[in-house]
Symmetry: C2
Subunit: 456 residues, 2 copies
């Protein structure tokens, strides 16, 4: 947590930018797994935490710009609570920690809001938010505030020095977690055994995971949460995992490494294509550059590499324009990162990653690019190109004229069970370019094979 | 998962017992942590899983007794899904696995229900259930079905042989997880470092946790999810943790062990009181016995032990009747266990643990006893007595006449920082008594000290 002044200044900036009305920021509640009181680990709403700092359930923050009043709503502690949870600081003393001097019990929220004639709230992403907002506003159809979304996105997109330090901490934890798994994985293990090392590391260091660990020999399945496969000698393992520090900032990295001591020839070739793409994309990052253009540059670099391998042919620019590369790279190059691993995703990708002038594309490939707009110093983002061989996609496009023009299907058919490769780092945009965050983690073929050979 | 016949028979029994109407059973959805698509690990609703077996999100089961029809509602897979999640079995083939031959898309649920004139559903415990039920029934105030609750509780309370085998598996995993932590913990570690070994074990063995690990040197705080304390030489560590197997059955055990190689004299004395109570309570379990009476027997045993130590005095029966023992034992002796660690808790403790004739008490102590009713063969439950020294409670009762009659406050004041002890095992009620489930785990002072001495 930062000091009270930080939160006060953040709220002050929000007030000034928004200019009027009443801002209602919902903290999260405990979430029941299979019954109400069997709780998942608590994750606070990141916007609430950005302005009100507290990492506890059942709080609501109000910034009443018109009355120039900030209030923290929360539960009152009962004597029974002391028996079950031990003595806790009072709501008032919690509020003081984040520079708020007015507190009220949760039961008073609806009454308080009844007086507001210009209520701003964010889009609900948990059903509990929906229910609360319905109950407090008396409306069935909610109307999240676009001005509030835009103001918050503008403010949170530029990370302060203190925030960048926290993110750097999260990325270093993330990097060490990856290193630990790279040393731990062995042929014959199940994916969940390997994943357990990442999960152990997060808990052992007093952190949370910033998202569920992706730990798979089937890297071509992009959202793969299944962990039942056994690691075989010639497999690659793709680990996409990140730490969320106690202060609430996320890291997010991906590495792909051989289960054996070395990559196979085919793996090595395509790994190098992804790595070259990764380096080229990172080198292109600088203020003013559209991230969409960095993505397209990466697509061209990837296409060039695939042409060299023989899996693609034809003119690179035409291939990318026609979307031919999406046979191998179906998703976006990266996303904003901060207190959320996909920063502010619940506020809407159009607002976070694009502008009114630059709308998000609906084309396959580009529609999965979460960030498109011009970069600014203080942005923190990921760069994560990949090659994914999806048999279903090969079959789907086999008779497609455009695909035939650029894809070597005969060769590709021999890659059907190749799997997937992704390499991902986290960077901050600086005045002159960008800087990779966190402790370096093996990435070149030589480095990756060295750490595996040492481990085995 | 069991075979299709099992689920068909379970639904058949429900139909016969309930006699008529339309039963709507909601599976769970994925739950977002800090934005919608950043999911917590998936936990299925246990009742849905009991009757429909499937451990996937976004499914709804309908048992239409009047039309003699069973339908599984679910999502249809799109081409995009294949790219992101890989090919999945169709809804129809999933349904076949659990003996259901009719499937419909989720979008048709409201229409289907519109024809029902006797709709039965369970109390919502996740906000998503509330929103769905409101949308599908058109009602703001929901009316869960008491006959459905009672029928399901009656059916699920008696575990089948196959279920007991699954629970035994969960308890054995749980026991091994505890053993591993008992060997792992060291002076100077943070509680979260110790907890990481339990969490690692669950994931490494391909299981989930049945509830968030309690791993604390402050065992007197009953719902302690804080893990920031450092283990000191004379501390005891209380570990309350359980495994949920892939088949969806829970284990739940607690052990309290010294951070050093041996208990201190004071710890040893009170540990033995808890252990004697634990043994006496387990020995009393048999069909026909009220679990409430087992709880009261345990309270008397505990009081006898505390009298011997010198912390209590006076007549044991009178002390327990007056609730004096709740200075040390504030909660219930145990609870039902099955697919939920507190089995069926979302259906209501009154219905699961009590009867219309035996209402749950509102007295301090007894009001936290989740199970009171007469035991039957096939019940699976926990026995978990404890001693918890809560300084705030001492101060609260210091001037209480009844407390003064039974409590040695002068001595108790020297125990203010003692902490807490709990010992918990899982048992099944048999025709003649009960049987402890799972692989035995050190419990006597000699056994516990031996495993610690070996480890250190």
């Amino acid at each position: 947590m930062f000091d009270a002044t930080t939160y006060t200044q953040r709220r002050q900036q929000l007030k000034q930018q928004l200019g009027g009305g009443l801002v209602l920021l919902l903290g999260n509640e405990e979430a029941g797994m299979n019954y109400k009181d069997n709780w998942y680990p608590f994750y606070q709403d990141s916007t609430f935490r950005y302005y009100f700092g507290l990492d506890l359930a059942d709080l609501t923050g109000v910034i009443d710009i018109d009355r120039d009043e900030v209030i923290l709503f929360g539960p009152e502690q009962s004597i029974d609570d002391v028996v079950w949870t031990g003595p806790l600081p009072s709501l008032a003393s919690l509020a003081e920690q984040v520079g708020v001097h007015n507190v009220m019990p949760n039961g008073k929220i609806a009454d308080y809001l009844a007086g507001a004639n210009n209520l701003h709230y964010l889009p609900p992403y948990r059903p509990e938010h929906q229910l609360k907002l319905q109950a407090w506003t008396g409306k069935t159809v909610l109307e999240p505030s676009l001005p509030l979304i835009e103001t918050i996105v503008a403010q949170r997109s530029i990370k302060s020095e203190a925030e960048i330090q926290e993110i750097e901490k999260a990325v270093t934890f993330t990097s060490r977690m990856h290193r630990s798994v790279m040393q731990f994985a062995r042929e014959g293990m199940k994916e969940h055994e390997v994943a357990s090392e990442a999960i152990r590391y997060a808990e052992a260091t007093g952190n949370l995971l910033s998202f569920p660990v992706i730990c798979t020999t089937q890297g071509q399945i992009l959202h793969n949460h299944y962990r039942g496969n056994t690691l075989k000698a010639n497999d690659m393992l793709l680990l996409d995992a990140g730490i969320q520090t106690a202060a609430g900032y996320a890291g997010d990295m991906t590495r792909t490494f051989p289960v054996g001591p070395t990559f196979t020839e085919r793996q090595r070739e395509l790994y190098q294509v992804v790595l070259d793409t990764h380096e080229a994309a990172m080198a292109a990052l600088k203020p003013g550059m559209l991230y969409k253009d960095v993505h397209l540059l990466a697509c061209r670099k990837l296409t060039d590499g695939l042409k060299q391998v023989g899996l693609m042919h034809g003119d690179t620019d035409e291939a990318v324009q026609a979307g031919a590369h999406t046979m191998f790279f179906q998703c976006g190059l990266g996303h904003m990162m901060g207190m959320d691993v996909h920063d502010m995703e619940n506020l809407g990708e159009q607002y976070v990653g694009y502008t009114p002038e630059l709308r998000k594309s609906t084309e396959f490939g580009l529609k999965s690019l979460r960030l498109g707009r011009a970069l600014e110093p203080g942005f923190v983002l990921t760069v994560e190109p990949g090659i994914y061989i999806i048999p279903e996609l090969i079959d789907m496009r086999r008779n497609d004229k455009v695909a035939q023009q650029f894809i070597n299907f005969e060769m590709l058919d021999t890659y059907r069970d190749f799997g997937g490769i992704r390499i991902e780092d986290d960077l901050v945009i600086t005045e002159s370019g960008s800087r990779i965050l966190g402790e370096p983690l093996p990435k070149t073929i030589t480095e990756v094979e060295a750490i595996r050979q040492q481990a085995l």
